[in-house]
């Protein structure tokens, strides 16, 4: 087993463990902190794939942005964080079945389905080529995504405004 593989399995274990903690921890703030760890694990996996840019963006957006906002929301509703949350209900059997089915599907697909893709571009050019691709070949989806985000932002602002008018 090479070093890369060792590191990969360590990181994979960390990511999965942290992800399990996210759904199983009783305290919702602990869940959020475990989520940070999960995102970091994913970022580490990106690094192993030589996608440093993606890893940095993953940390920046998911840890620095999304989790912070999550924690923000949790702490603003002060009583939630103190109380434990219920983590099981009557649908647990059903969901376990679905989860295992999906897991089996993905495992089968990764073992059998995909052929090896062509060689990767050297990592030092990854950022530049990614930028070039975003602004040439994929400019249309890129713009479509930004319009989607803009719409979401406008929607959020309208929702927030309406709240204020009520009181």
């Amino acid at each position: 087993m090479t070093v890369t593989q060792t590191v990969f399995f360590l990181m994979a274990a960390l990511t999965t463990g942290a992800a399990l903690l996210v759904v199983l921890a009783k305290n919702i703030v602990h869940c959020a902190i475990a989520l940070v760890l999960t995102f970091f694990g994913v970022a580490a996996l990106y690094v192993l794939l030589d996608a440093e840019f993606l890893a940095a963006v993953q940390v920046l957006l998911y840890v620095g942005g999304i989790t912070i906002l999550l924690l923000f929301a949790i702490m603003l509703t002060s009583r939630i964080s103190a109380r434990g949350v219920k983590i099981m209900n009557e649908q647990v059997g059903m969901s376990a079945l679905v989860v295992f089915a999906i897991f089996a599907l993905i495992a089968f697909a990764s073992l059998k389905g995909f052929a090896v893709v062509g060689s990767l571009p050297p990592s030092s050019y990854a950022t530049a080529s990614l930028g070039r691709l975003l602004l040439t070949t994929y400019v249309l989806p890129f713009e479509a995504v930004s319009i989607l985000l803009l719409a979401a932002m406008v929607g959020a602002i309208i929702l927030a405004r309406r709240e204020r008018e009520k009181d």
Binding site: L76, T77, S78, R79
Partner: protein, 375 residues
Amino acid sequence: MNQTDVIEPIHETMEEMYVNMGPQHPSTHGVLRLMLKLDGEVVTGVTPYIGYLHRCHEKIGENRIYTQVIPYTDRLDYLASMYNNFGYVLTVERLMGLQVPERAEYMRVILAELQRIASHLIWMGTFGLDLGNFTIFMYCFREREKILDLFESVSGQRLNYSFYRIGGMPLDFPESFLTECKAFLEWFKPRLPEYDAVMTDNIIFQKRVQGLGKLDQKTAIDYAISGPMLRGSGIKWDLRRNDPYSIYDRFEFEIPVGSTGDVWDRYMVRRQEMDESVKIVEQALRDLPPGEIMGKVPKKLRPPAGDMYSRVESPRGELGFYIVSDGSEKAYRYKVRSPAFVNLSVLPVIGPGHLVADMVAILGSIDIVLGEVDR
């Protein structure tokens, strides 16, 4: 008049957070406790809880002979002890109909106005501290230190002077005092523009205090606000001018007033009052006559039966003393009307609707001294 509900933590809900500010908090200027009702960071209600420094001052005053009360008055507003002495001895003198020698009157005014500068300096420094500017605090304390040195050379004390006596002053100025005091004023005058550079002209400071904690004239009068807070609201009311005591009618000085009654106006009033106090001290030093410093006072003070309320313009506002005498050596009833206590009572009206940070600035602009609030 707004009626404000008393805020108790037991009413806490999901949306509102109750924060206990003080009695141990860097910005409550002593042992004041504020109960804040917060919606996020916005203060929706505030109730001051006082009494952590209560010392039964008034009851003590009824169980000591008149002279013995003077040291207790020092501890009222411990940042302006001279003024407390002043107000108290003035009341007893009026009650007894005593005449105070000319020179003593001038000495009283000089010390009192120096005390006003010292008190405003402390206020300015701690106000800067409230807003996160630490440097002005050090500057102000440097100047106050010089005033305290002057007071020490006169009275031997640096904080609780007990220097005024019923009927006059106990000691004359030491020989060096006049030159030292003049030297101090010459040194102090160029310092004031320095404060302006650090505080008044600073855009961050201006933006922080302008438009905060507005106190309109009607509310100010309804709540019996006095001192710089009242003048900040635009009412030209200064007891030194409107109800002159001692020899204040002999001096020329301006009464700075604000216009909108916000924190900025209160700041500017106090800042300009320092200029005016310097003027008064200069005039008093110039006119200081020679002569006696202690009037003819009987050995045992037995004021005639009756009552007397007399007030002085302390750095914080109208400091009143009410004494009922039954003709004995001790007061029958002794009551202090402390400006800080009365001014603090308006906080639940002007506080809500601001952010926590502004709450600190508003509280700072009221300029409370807990020794006086609780007595």
